[in-house]
């Protein structure tokens, strides 16, 4: 049997992306009695523990631009972002009725409060606010986080009715190490040959991992990498940009496509950050929770939802991303009313100014429909980069 083409792979991923009933995850659950599904929201949870419990971690990143929000708007004022309202819409319309638990990571006050709302709206579902340390000393934040994960492990053992062993956790860590390695390979491939690996395709391929078992996703990404390398796509005179600020509410697919159409090659981004949150492999021996904790404290990505204890280090992750990928500028795309991204933005922009890196900024919502202004803004930015670099 021949390997699938990029078109075939992307078509499948697009189908998963558009499926707001999560059919793939439902089928996985129905395949064997007793299977459980645990949903999680951005930005990070240790999926390894869910996997080791024999459960399917299911990424819930809002409803996108295809979901009509009817009920969800009744829960939120106009000045609150869209992801909580579309997530509630998914819940109250029964689209998540097969989900046995929901995790609300520590990312902002809106998602934090949503954890309490979920408890009230769906009292029969396990619901957990997943607190993470914002201090990074091993004996302080590390111990706190290890204990929090131990509590979560115990909760899952009760839900699943089976023990989560250290050996099982090591195996799960290994399979997620592999997932992260493969996705980083994909990102590297895009940075090297962005014309062969369009950002919208990368997004869809990575996003498929939110609803598929990780083993299946590993296979899928590898197939895409192989197929994309064989593609003969024309090189355009685009500017290479890093896209940042999209770590929670997801942009419409059209927004990502519009950036490329307007003359930008996206060579790095913070979309679906959980898939690359931990940098490097997590050790697969010793105490697995301690290892996950160490990875979180010392080898994880920077984002606005995290405290940066070192002033000198603030925003340097963006400068490094620009250098690593050979980017020529940064696009700040932030969700409207997103406290973490919008409060962080001026500080990051100051760092870029100091480093002489050009940038632009705009806001979006997951259901933004009008792409023309964004296309014009990004197009002008791409053109101006070309002009500057030629000067």
């Amino acid at each position: 049997m021949s390997s699938p083409t990029t078109t075939e792979i992307v078509a499948r991923c697009q189908e998963l992306y558009e499926d707001l009933h999560f059919t793939a995850a439902r089928k996985w659950k129905e395949a064997e009695p007793g299977r459980k599904v645990i949903g999680y929201m951005p930005v990070y949870v240790p999926r390894e523990i869910i996997h080791a419990a024999g459960m399917l971690p299911l990424g819930i990143v809002g409803g996108g631009d295809n979901l009509e929000v009817i009920h969800g708007d009744a829960y939120y004022q106009s000045y609150i972002c869209r992801i909580p309202r579309s997530t509630i819409e998914l819940g109250v319309t029964g689209r998540l009725d097969f989900v046995d638990g929901m995790l609300f990571p520590s990312i902002c006050d809106v998602i934090r409060n949503l954890s309490g709302m979920w408890k009230m709206l769906f009292p029969e579902v396990y619901s957990k606010y997943f607190d993470v340390p914002q201090t990074y000393e091993d004996e302080i934040g590390g111990t706190f986080y290890t204990n929090e994960m131990a509590e979560f492990r115990k909760d899952l053992e009760e839900i699943g009715g089976r023990k989560i062993t250290d050996e099982g956790l090591h195996k799960s860590i290994e399979v997620y190490n592999e997932n992260r390695r493969i996705i980083r390979e994909l990102y590297d491939q895009r940075a090297k040959t962005p014309w062969k690996v369009p950002a919208a395709e990368v997004y869809l391929v990575v996003r498929a991992g939110l609803v598929l078992p990780v083993e299946e996703h590993n296979e899928l990404v590898l197939q895409y990498i192989e197929a994309a390398a064989k593609e003969d796509r024309p090189i355009r005179d685009n500017s290479r940009v890093v896209l940042t600020g999209l770590f929670c509410e997801q942009p419409p697919l059209n927004l990502i496509k519009s950036l490329e159409l307007s003359g930008c090659y996206v060579v790095d981004d913070d979309l679906l950050l959980i898939t690359r949150w931990l940098i490097g492999d997590v050790p697969t021996d010793g105490d697995p929770l301690h290892n996950l904790s160490q990875a979180f404290l010392h080898h994880s990505e920077s984002t606005a939802a995290k405290y940066e204890p070192d002033l000198e280090e603030k925003g340097q992750f963006l400068v490094r991303a620009v250098k690593r990928t050979g980017a020529e500028g940064v696009i700040f795309a932030s969700t409207s009313f997103c406290d973490p991204a919008l409060l962080d933005r001026p500080m990051l922009q100051n760092v870029l100014k100091d480093a002489g890196i050009p940038f632009i900024a705009f806001k979006y919502a997951e259901n933004s429909g009008q792409m023309q202004p964004i296309r014009e803004q990004a197009g002008t930015f791409a053109d101006s980069i070309k002009l500057w670099s030629a000067a």
């Binding site: 009744a74 609150i80 520590s106 949503l114 009230m120």
Partner: protein, 435 residues
């Protein structure tokens, strides 16, 4: 004792004697703050929820509260220009106006309410308690001041309980990070007995504060627990918890409240003693400060008294039994931070509001939803429906902002309030709640 004073606003305001005393305390504090450099004092900036005043006093640090500065600027009608100044400098129109008022104030010379320049802090004590914005706010200030930032994380009480892991985490932060850094920065060695003494004083003032807040249970409440409550919480939420000044202030206030109860009097408003108590309300959410007096007047003109509020619990939920405990000095600081209102889960907040409506014999719940504050605001519409369902009392929703005058629409707020009072009347007369 009542004194008539003249304010920046057009008409004379009748102030209760305790208000005068508090004003003097605040003025003295701001004078100490603005004279810190010449007096050789070191300055710490920190937040109200999760305020570690007793601990900071152990290091002879003068406490500067950017939230209170923003409130002062809101009350003095200066915050609007500061917010716009920050937006011109690149801050989003979508984010917290306390932050932007603070940043704008710095850009305009950092002048305090006493007309003198506030000193740059020697340290930022980032007590990350109940509000994500705090974390970013002090990263922004750190960028400006280039000073050391001490971080204290308070885990969120998501499951309605304080776990041993939470306490251990916080105590470790105190012992291994916060206190050693404060010692180094201040040059003062930590003395736990000094901390115990301050905590003892805190508990004493806290007893009186609870007595005052719970006097709202009297039918014909002697206090307004929202608008008046802002003043009542000032000393204990700010720079005075753990001081003799705070103890004296609350004793003074308690006596006044007792006198009002004995005389059958209601709250004191800026226009004098309040008339008939027609409506008893519980209010959720912070107030608007840019039009504070106008906002309050909409209530007392209609005979509406706020008998209990959640905002007066952002700096501590003392009425639920918490007292600073000198016998467990670090654990008690941790429990204090964990228990503040905005660090409580949504179900816990709903339980509190339901309790208030029942225990204070309120006619209903009013939510003042603040554009700036997602910590308070996200989920309030569900809270409103749940409280209505559980108490059978009508609830209403208005929207304003903390210190951004662009988001205070007096006509809209007044219309909503008038409709709400009609709704309460209908409910009382058994005609049901208007759709």
């Amino acid at each position: 004792m009542r004194v008539t004073t003249s304010t920046a606003q057009t008409t004379d305001v009748i102030k209760d004697a305790s208000m005068i005393k508090q004003k003097q305390m605040m003025a003295a504090h701001y004078d100490r703050l603005t004279s810190a450099r010449e007096n050789g004092d070191k300055v710490v900036s920190t937040f109200v929820p999760g305020n570690l005043n007793e601990l900071l006093m152990c290091f002879d640090l003068v406490n500067n509260l950017p939230e209170v500065n923003a409130i002062q600027n809101g009350l003095r009608r200066k915050s609007g220009a500061f917010v716009m100044e920050a937006e011109r400098a690149g801050h989003s129109e979508d984010v917290c106006t306390y932050v932007k008022s603070d940043i704008g104030m710095m850009a305009k010379g950092n002048i305090g309410p006493n007309g003198k320049e506030l000193p740059a802090p020697d340290v930022l004590m980032l007590s990350y308690t109940g509000c994500f914005t705090f974390l970013k706010w002090f990263e922004l200030l750190r960028e400006q001041y280039k000073c050391e930032t001490i971080f204290l994380q308070t885990p969120y009480m998501a499951d309605g309980k304080i776990t041993p892991n939470m306490i251990q985490y916080m105590v470790k932060q105190f012992k291994e990070d916060v206190i050693p850094k404060l010692e180094r920065i201040s040059g003062v060695k930590f003395d736990i007995d000094r901390l115990r003494e301050y905590l003892r004083k805190s508990a004493k003032a806290e007893d009186d504060l609870v007595y005052i807040l719970q006097s709202g249970k009297h039918v014909r409440s002697p206090i307004d627990a929202y608008f008046g409550g802002i003043y009542y919480i000032g000393p204990i939420f700010g720079a005075f918890r753990g001081t003799d000044d705070a103890i004296e202030y609350y004793q003074f206030l308690k006596n006044e409240v007792d006198q009002r109860i004995a005389a059958g009097l209601g709250p004191v408003t800026p226009d004098g003693p309040m008339g008939e108590e027609k409506y008893r309300l519980v209010v959720e959410g912070p107030p608007n400060y840019t039009n504070f007096r106008q906002f309050w007047k909409m209530f007392y003109d209609e005979g509406a008294t706020v008998v209990a509020s959640s905002y007066t619990k952002v700096g501590g939920t003392y009425d639920y039994g918490f007292r600073h405990d000198p016998d467990r000095p670090l654990e008690t600081l941790a429990e204090y931070c964990l228990g503040v209102y905005t660090n409580r889960s949504l179900p816990m907040r709903i339980d509190m509001l339901v309790d208030y409506i029942n225990e204070y014999q309120a006619d209903g719940l009013l939510i003042n939803s603040i554009k700036s504050c997602n910590s308070f605001s996200a989920g309030q519409l569900l809270m409103m429906r749940e409280v209505e369902k559980r108490t059978g009392k009508p609830a209403a929703f208005i929207e304003t902002d903390l210190v951004d005058p662009r988001y205070f629409s007096a006509a809209n707020v007044k219309n909503r309030l008038e409709s709400y009072f009609q709704m309460i009347e209908q409910k009382r007369s058994g005609k049901g709640v208007a759709a």
